[in-house]
Symmetry: D2
Subunit: 108 residues, 4 copies
């Protein structure tokens, strides 16, 4: 078992022990990811570079945690869905066109 | 090399080929995570249960992708920071108090 | 009738004509505000200062629009709730302590 | 002077007294709107209907407050930009097509 599977199992057990699975519908997990993403952003609210690394790690961990829960609830593999999306993104942003510019694909 | 490391390497190469590392400061990645989290939420904007699974997978993959990039830029291990945060959360929400209630720890 | 009341009436008529009131529960409006706020943030995703003012105005208008709808659904007055919150915030951040520092009140 | 102008003046004075205008760039206000929108969403994180109205009003007020600040910093009128956007939206969603369906205009 690799680290990612073990981690998912640990999170599942945590929720099961607390009888919290009832709250973890896809929509509620989606709200939770957005809420934690904003808490991460709050680390950079007034200053872009002078952030507290421990707070950033904590909030980033919360986003990741809910993402892993959502993968589990949907029955999808986190590594696989990111790889699948990369297949698409690599085609949408060909190196020749995208090099050095942060332009959205539909404006390239 | 496990799947997570390989995936991170793939994303790094994708960015390097396009000379996009210049855009990927922690604050910009944090904005990106929040933006993608909201696109995920949009899959559930008007209906909680009748969602398009492919769209959900795509948007969830984008959130995960930026989270992995942020871990890489900060030099932290995604598995480790989630496990570290779980250590804290398990203490904050003791089973006896938290069982079956979605109350925030500061109101438990 | 002032401009704000007229605007709220216009938005209400727009929704009524389309039979959209059924979708505008407080939770759905809250999701919508977060989604539009992220679209506004997207105007600044990779560059803080070189933004498109027309896009910014459009997205900011969407956030405001859903906020006005939420006030209407909750039966509260937008001017009044902001003034009420200002009463609290002015006390939380006394000038003597808060001057020139972006520190959150609980760390002041 | 109507209630909206007075409110904007009050917020401007609040910031000026604390020398906080320096923090309120468009990008920082945009981050702040997203952060407050997520705090509003947190009122509905695990339950759609059993929310605390006072908390909802407080968080909605924070979103509105930062929106008004952003309008002021950009030199635009909040009522005007929402009306301008409504002109566009009314055309994008004709009653005949949009009635009773929450479908995005590009899929109508």
């Amino acid at each position: 078992m690799n680290g990612l599977d073990e981690l998912t199992q640990r999170i599942k057990k945590f929720n099961k022990d607390r009888n919290w699975e009832q709250f973890h519908s896809p929509v509620n997990l989606s709200k939770s990811i957005a809420i934690e993403a904003a808490e991460l952003l709050e680390c950079f609210q007034w200053n872009d570079t002078d952030y507290n690394l421990n707070e950033v790690k904590d909030e980033l961990a919360d986003v990741l945690n809910y993402c892993l829960q959502m993968c589990d609830v949907l029955g999808v593999d986190p590594i696989e869905i990111v790889n699948d999306k990369m297949d698409v993104t690599e085609k949408k942003y060909p190196v020749a066109k995208a090099k050095g510019v942060a332009t959205k694909y539909n404006k390239l």
